[in-house]
Amino acid sequence: MKTGKEFIKTIFFVELIKGMAFTLKTLLFTPPVTRRYPNKVKVPAQPGFRGLHALAKNEEGKMKCVGCGLCGAYCPSKCIYIYTSEGEDHTKVVDRYEIETPRCIYCGFCVEACPFGAITLSEHYEYSTYSRDSLYMTKDKLLENWDKYFAGEKGKRYFRDFWRPKTTDFKGYEGQAMFKGNKNEK
């Protein structure tokens, strides 16, 4: 049962009027918080932002990826396609490495899964276009992305500060075994 006071409030729309007044006040007397993107305001992504993918290159400028397929296996939206074959010298060659970015959810699992730190997510996020095809990342495009978005110090910092692949300092549950790389390699 409503009290008399509440009853009066309801009849005279007191709450409604209060709300409207607040709206009006905000509308007229506070500055807008909307950022005028992309024409006026452009805030750079913070380091570690998960944007467009890139395939890392090593010091010699060669692709780091060996085509182990772990990123693709781990990817929750299954948008990474990897095709490998046996090369001339019988080693494994990555023929195609493709990411269907429209389906990517930028979870970063691929980055974590990679034992070599070969797949990365750059800070670049502005790549909306009018065609789907250009959103389909091929191996060449992904390698290009590395040069574009991780050139020089940036790449190094990326690995130092942010995406540390599971294999270097991951702590699993107690007793879990993991691949720690081969310390005495070659």
Partner: protein, 874 residues
Amino acid sequence: MITISINGKEIRLEKPMTVLEAARSAGIKIPTLCWHEQLEKYGGCRLCLVEVEKMPRLQTACTLMVADGMVIRTETGRIADVRRGILEFLLINHPLDCPYCDKAGECDLQDLVEKYGPVTGRFKEKKRKVPESLEDPVIVRNMERCIVCTRCVRMCEGVQGASAIAVIDRGGHSHIEPFSGGRFDCEYCGNCVSVCPVGAIMSKLHRHSYRPWQLVDEVETICPYCGVGCTLVVQVRDDVIKRVVPKLGTVVNNGLLCSRGRFGYEFVGSKERLTKPLIRIASKTHDASRVTHNEIFREATWEEAISFVAKKLEEIKDKYGSDSIAGIASPRCTNEDNYIFQKFMRTAIGTNNIDSTARTGFAGAQNFIENIFGQGATANIIPGLSNSDSVLVIGGDPTAINPILGLQIRACSRKGGNILTIGKVKGLRFFNPVSLKPVLYTETVLLEGIVTALRERIGLPGSNPNLEAGIKDINISDGEIEKTCGIKGNDFTMFMKILSESSTPSIVIGKELVQSNSGNYKLLLIAAINYLINGRIYLLSERANEQGLLDMGCAPDLLPGYRPLTFAEFRRKYENSWKTSIPDKVGFSIFEMMDAAKEGSLKALYVMGENPVFNLPDARSVEAAMKNIDFLVVQDIFLTETARLADVVFPALSWSEKDGTFTNMERRIQRLRKAVHREGMEDWRIISEVSKHMGVPLNYSNPEDIFNEVSKVSPLHRDMTYEDIEKGEAVYPYKGEPLRGVSEEIKFQVPSSKFQVSDKKLYLKLERPLFHSGTLSTKAPALVNIYPEAMARISPDTAKSLSLGDGDIVRVSTKIGSLELPVSVDKELDNSSVLLSNNFEGKGAFSLMEYTLDSVTKAPCIDYNEARIEKVNI
């Protein structure tokens, strides 16, 4: 009853077994590495350690037998510590190159380390480095990864029986050697590949092009090569077959395969495959081998080619009558294809001129044996062989012709059974055979001697008077055998002792026997031996569906279900169900077709999935006959020698691109399943299209439809469905009625004169290699890598007398032709033979072999071709 408790769960067991087996039967998983259900127990890896109450030390579950009242724990802290330790030791030398290793994802070591392994290793020294070896044609070895579980060695020695590998060196240097090149040759079965728990031994095929979890499409189907009918699992990625693996628990091959089945699948994706129908533009007198196929044919649309064929066949039928047309069916095509083909020939064309290359041995021999023992006499279960107490092998090497059947014979020997061989059986030479090797052309005498001795030892049982009438007068004494066949008396006595005393004997008959002089008489003698010892007969079958094609009625004298055409009653039944009339005249056999073609009375020939120009003896005259045919239609997957002579060539879908059924040599019907897609039509569909254009519609929408009709009309397959086949219930005698107890009078011919042989002469013999089957396998690069080219095999003595060595080029010539080939010296060979295979294009033994037809089995006898060898100087 034994009661034990594992992890607090009470388990009651009927019979003694190991703790591991008991745990598995109760669904408790114990980790293992060296144990494998197909192999002998080893107890080497110690990963399966369990705690047993009242036993102070941990015990290996895979070797410990259960005892009543045992209390076992499989996962305790103590066990975990030990397992962690073992895995840490294994990882000391294991490279941990999982990202590159093709095994990752299905590697036992990876899984176990993930579950039980140490967090990090404490071992600081360098790991061993062994370069990967790619020397073998189909196997890659990476001995860094080997954990010395010896599964591969136990597989190779104890199951495959090749003993090609062993653990070499000790401790951290242990590795597995030598595969090929050792004293015992690797048979490239790849069974070691299936059991290796890590990536130490792997297949070279499609290496690095897939990860196990990417092989999402998996299809269970039947091997396309031989009559054993092994179940294969075809694994596909993006419509390309990436690998073929066996499956544990399948009836015929239970987790094993031979080199052809495992490594021979690549022909499917061959670039040489036909894609479009072809119509001839060049004249027939062209030497087809000299010109490219663009000069002989033009590409046509399906519609055009089909209506053209239909029109031409109609014309020929109207002008020269139905019997001027003939058809050759295929032992590589499914039952459904073959059923439709014979129905097409019998209804749309109206002739019984239909036959196949099964006529070159299998059909005649089976018919002969069934006439004596009743239908189904050769339908014996293959795994049963290993339970025989003796196996008699004659007329071929089962370990090369039907390798998985051969393994059963080896298993029989291992279980203590006796192996008896007549003639050279290379694949069984290490299995303690009692081997009789009669001098050339004296096999008949030896067999007569065996029959005589058995008759004396066992006596005639009297149940088959017909057969007994045939053998009662045979009388060859031991002395005569020694004199004529050059067999020592002792050997013969031992042989006879084993044979006559065995209670569950089996007899394995190869085609060589059927294709030799007086083959029918030898078959009679073998039948008599079988009768006297009460054995089971296995007839080796070189093609996947040789049996099925006969069951489907692709024979000039048989209707589907093995019903003789000459019985009006049977004919009427088929006429009623097909609603048409069937000619009553028995048609041409495949050899009669060739004769008719030569003399010009055969005007048209329809060849489905067969290559008679290559696969029939005296190939050159077959070629001449084919050229003499007005209208030749060939349906195949490659442009074969025969297809090159055709007027119209239809490209067909191959083995893994279609559905259907195969019937193996034990008469088990099994499902063939489509694994990859390809544009085009199945053989049966092409034929029904042609038939439709001829005004005789054969309306089926899929192979199951066809099979349902078969099970309606063929009394042998009555009421059988695809469902029964899937359930594995399609084993002879099925649900229908075989024609048992047909006891016609036994026809045979006692050879009148014995062949005169001189030691000086060489005879050309057919080699039936393990790594090839017909020409199909030569389109599979892996098999070609193993066995790359045709070779003339001669004995060391022959080689010496002609001063020849391995690799020298010689000219092998017979009366009808000659070939230039490299020589290979074969220690096992006798001095009177030159072996040549019939697999490689342009180098087939059949192009040098004349034949005479056996008067009863109608099989070609090809063992009398004298050959000369001379060195070619280059």
